[in-house]
Symmetry: C2
Subunit: 439 residues, 2 copies
């Protein structure tokens, strides 16, 4: 006995008004089975929702026995009739004619799918596949997919080209710290911490505007709720800008579009999570680092960077003062930014580098970059780097590089804050940290 699965309809495609009494194929996971006297109710879960299968023992004794005996999460296919029902939660039930069990689940499940028992994140991550079967976990990754798609759509329509650059590199962009080593045949190579050099090079290669979505790697040894050793970076770089304000304006626009797309495509998921996405203002406020210091009550020069507590206070300030949960901080001190960051020649010691803070966390780092060859080489030299190691990167600056800038959004950080997740690991299907390499 077999069922033609190409005929399968999803739970969301069944309209009890129009399809009453017609024959359909449905399939999915048996989430729960209840037996009430001689009637059995099986809840079938597919990627869109749930379907109730109702079996009367005297009408279909074999199917009744099958469904009574299998464990939760077994996978079945059912050929049956749609029957309108005022009692069934979906407004209909399926009365089966045939039923095939594709996969017999073992019991007990290591973690329950429908039980409301609290499970530690560590256990959830160990059994991630089962964890994701829960609507409220799967919803996170449906929204993540839309977030990434929104990033790409917004850039595509602005003339950006998607690039795919190598993740195995000979030198780190930040020069050696926190790099994972790869044994590359006879040599030592590293996993890329960012596509920074390559995306700038692609601007100079004539694409002018490029983006890349890909994994990047940071061998940071500490375990925190906001760090991952492997994360998805949404990178863009654009040529022919006046300054970093053009980059911030672009990010402002694409954030609006990304959130619009999620609101549009993930209504069900947002409802499942009970989340309402924040409003992105038409103009996200921008403050200079010096202004940030004032707001935080520090003296100028007292601090050269913001710590998590500062970031938290600044977005609280921004929410209060500007009704914006997003805040750009521009003009970070030069020495705390990478050597390719454009100095602000009108404010010595400061750069044209910015961060976007959102709900107390840095979710983007960006800025205008140096495009002048001599200035760039000198900047690397002054920081103590050996310029010969970066010749492959400097070459483009020697042979014509437009003024340019760009940014990188940490996809998981943005998602984490958008959905109010407590731990960044919840925003990664298979997070990697110092302890976690499996699954």
């Amino acid at each position: 006995m077999s069922i033609d699965l190409t005929r399968r309809v999803l739970s969301s495609q069944i309209d009890p008004e129009k399809m009453h009494d017609t024959e359909v194929v449905v399939a999915g996971w048996v989430e729960d089975v209840r037996v009430v006297g001689k009637i059995l109710f099986a809840i079938l879960r597919d990627r869109e929702g749930r379907i109730q299968i109702t079996v009367k023992k005297n009408e279909s004794p074999k199917i009744y026995e099958t469904l009574k005996s299998i464990h939760r999460e077994s996978v079945i296919g059912v050929l049956g009739k749609v029957v309108k029902s005022d009692i069934a939660r979906m407004g209909f039930e399926i009365v089966p004619k045939e039923c095939v069990v594709y996969s017999y689940a073992h019991a007990p499940l290591p973690i329950g799918i429908i039980d409301k028992v609290h499970v530690e994140l560590d256990t959830r991550l160990r059994h991630r596949v089962l964890d994701i079967r829960k609507d409220n976990v799967r919803a996170i990754f449906k929204i993540k997919a839309t977030l990434v798609e929104g990033f790409r759509q917004s850039l595509r329509k602005r003339g950006f080209t998607e690039v795919h650059t190598s993740k195995i590199i000979a030198e780190g962009t930040e020069g050696g710290a926190n790099l994972f080593e790869v044994k590359y045949f006879e040599r030592v190579a590293y996993l890329a911490q960012s596509p920074q050099f390559y995306k700038q090079m692609m601007v100079g290669a004539g694409f002018e505007r490029v983006y890349e979505v890909g994994m990047v790697y940071r061998a940071e040894p500490h375990n925190t709720t906001r760090h991952l050793n492997e994360y998805l970076s949404l990178d863009l770089e654009m040529g022919f800008i006046n300054d970093e304000y053009d980059v911030m304006r672009l990010e402002n626009e694409i954030l609006i579009e990304m959130i619009d797309l999620i609101n549009d495509e993930n209504k069900r998921e947002l409802k499942t999570l009970g989340v309402e996405l924040p409003e992105v203002p038409e103009r996200i406020p921008v403050i200079h680092f010096v202004e940030a210091m004032e707001i935080l009550g520090y003296n100028e020069g007292e601090k050269l960077d913001l710590d998590p507590e500062d970031e938290k206070r600044l977005t609280e300030w921004s929410k209060e003062e500007h009704d914006s949960e997003f805040l750009f901080v521009d003009g970070y001190p030069l020495e705390k930014r990478p050597p390719y960051t454009m100095p602000d020649f009108e404010r010595p010691g400061y750069s044209r580098g910015f961060d976007l803070l959102f709900r107390g966390m840095e979710v983007t780092t960006g800025g205008q970059r140096i495009h002048q060859y001599d200035l760039l080489v000198e900047s690397y030299r002054r920081r103590g780097y050996d310029p010969r190691k970066f010749e492959f990167y400097f070459e483009v600056f020697k042979y014509g590089m437009p003024p340019h800038g760009g940014l990188a959004i940490g996809a998981e950080r943005l998602l984490m804050k958008l959905l109010n997740l407590n731990n960044i690991r919840e925003a990664m299907i298979f997070p990697r940290d110092r302890e976690r390499l499996v699954p």
Copy 2:
């Protein structure tokens, strides 16, 4: 003096009929400068095309001197007037009022951009940024971006969810051969050869249909024109299939759509390359491995796999017999396919695994996978693997896995064959091979 680059228009946006005598900002690379008496013609290249800047010495002596003195590939911005012209190749020229040099190119260029001198691939790859400035090289990557976008668009509209799975893994999908080692804190990890396990797990996690676009790694030590050590894999996996024919049908459909999208979005690039994309038939022919052996004149059992010469002869046959440059070969011998491949129970010794051949090369590997826990564990054991190492992967099969299958398209292989490139490295911005780690 500065020019507002936010006012910039691209070469393709200038309509000489409508914009004659209006002031515009243009910017780009100075591809060439010719001086004819007291008139200077500079060809400015931007991401869309070319613009002629015409400067009369007596009208703009400073701009004349500037453009006369700078080297090719310097980057400039120009504020000037559009002047209709019957002589200029673009139908117009720009008469500048202001000119800013953003980047002074050094001379000579390591490789020319407009010279027709033949340059070896090795040299081109060493100076990849300059190489990509050539229209016919940049065109390859514009088309690659569309190819990838087409893959995603086609799957998105069929209910597939994009996933991003870890590339740092504890165990290889093929069990240890050709893996790059990563020093992962105190442990040894590997770079993923494919998202195979993870995409199957995501089908079982309830997404049912997933795709992933990402780099994968093969530590194959040999240098050939068809192998890369890092390449872009277009992966998909779908649940609730009848058999591998559903997967082949899907690939057939999405290939048609991917090629349609390129024809639609990359007319200019196809023209630059002088390439006409092949027709994908409504039904790509499918032959069984046994049939392939007959066509090639081998006895049954004489060979268990196809070599490059076989693949070439088969697509020649397909072109001749079916007028199709694409050919599915299904039912490969089981022992040559990975242990997760579904056996064909009606043809002992053969599998439900297929390849897609195109113009003499395998561009896709796919198939139906085993979804039954016992069968899968047994398959791994029989092949000599230690099942305990794969427990993180087997778990989903223990707790409900639908019948499923999928495939992986090698993006560079497909692109190489579509565009008739001689070496797969031409389809990668920064190819990685045994010798090449920079740029």
